[in-house]
């Protein structure tokens, strides 16, 4: 199972990349844990997770081919 990850703003600075593929992650909580091990700075970050363009809340199940966006607080305008 493949998931496409997109990182924006300060999150992309922390991860050092803005787009990559990961495998064998089933849900957003598992993804967060996985990322926080790789990038400990994320633990103290506030960010929203969108799956296939919709912002999720709680632990959201991922399906093969999903696009998951890691979004820090917005600062447009």
């Amino acid at each position: 199972m493949k998931i496409k990850i997109l990182a924006f703003g300060i999150i992309a600075d922390i991860t050092g990349k803005s787009e990559w593929i990961i495998e064998n992650i089933q849900a957003t909580d598992e993804l967060k844990k996985h990322l926080e091990i790789l990038y400990p700075r994320l633990k103290s970050m506030k960010y929203a997770i969108a799956v296939n363009l919709a912002i999720t809340s709680g632990n959201f199940e991922l399906t093969d081919g999903a696009t998951v966006a890691l979004m820090p607080p917005f600062s447009g305008g």
Binding site: F8, G9, I10, D13, A50, P72, P73, F74, S75, G77
Partner: protein, 148 residues
């Protein structure tokens, strides 16, 4: 989501005053309009830790932002009696003193145009997946935070 065409919101770089003037001029043929309301967001030269912001570099989750702008537009049309509405937001680098957001609403009477304009700007600030990086004179930067 409605089947109306998604209008292009993002503009590369600053929004020029000439573009804004031209947008106003284009409405002279729409003679049922009695009021326009315009919001212009300008990049401010904040001083943070003794360094002055000289530009903001905007990035967005384009696909999601375009959908969000579309939804905001549709909701504003439902909520207010508007003749027309235009939203433009910069992407990439915009220097301090330049315009990065242009919201333009028109209606028969002023109340709808003015209230819709405020409504749209507030929703963009809160809900559009856009990020601004504040760049200082020495090219160092911090990520912008919107004030509520």
């Amino acid at each position: 989501m409605s089947e109306k065409k998604i209008k292009k919101v993002f503009i590369e770089g600053a929004i020029s005053p000439l573009f804004i003037a031209d947008a106003i001029a284009k409405h002279s043929t729409k003679k049922d309009i009695g009021a326009h309301s315009i919001f212009l967001g300008q990049v401010r030269n904040d001083v943070i830790n003794n360094k002055e912001v000289k530009a903001i570099d905007y990035t967005a989750y384009n696909e999601m932002a375009e959908e969000k702008f579309h939804e905001i537009r549709e909701t504003a049309f439902e909520k207010y009696s508007l003749t027309c509405m235009h939203i433009y937001h910069s992407l990439g680098r915009v220097n301090s003193g330049e315009i990065s957001l242009f919201v333009f609403t028109s209606s028969k009477h002023r109340k709808d145009a003015m209230e819709a304009c405020t409504y749209i700007v507030n929703r963009i600030k809160e809900e559009a997946p856009v990020w601004g990086k504040e760049i200082f004179e020495d090219e160092s930067y911090i990520w912008k935070q919107n004030t509520p």
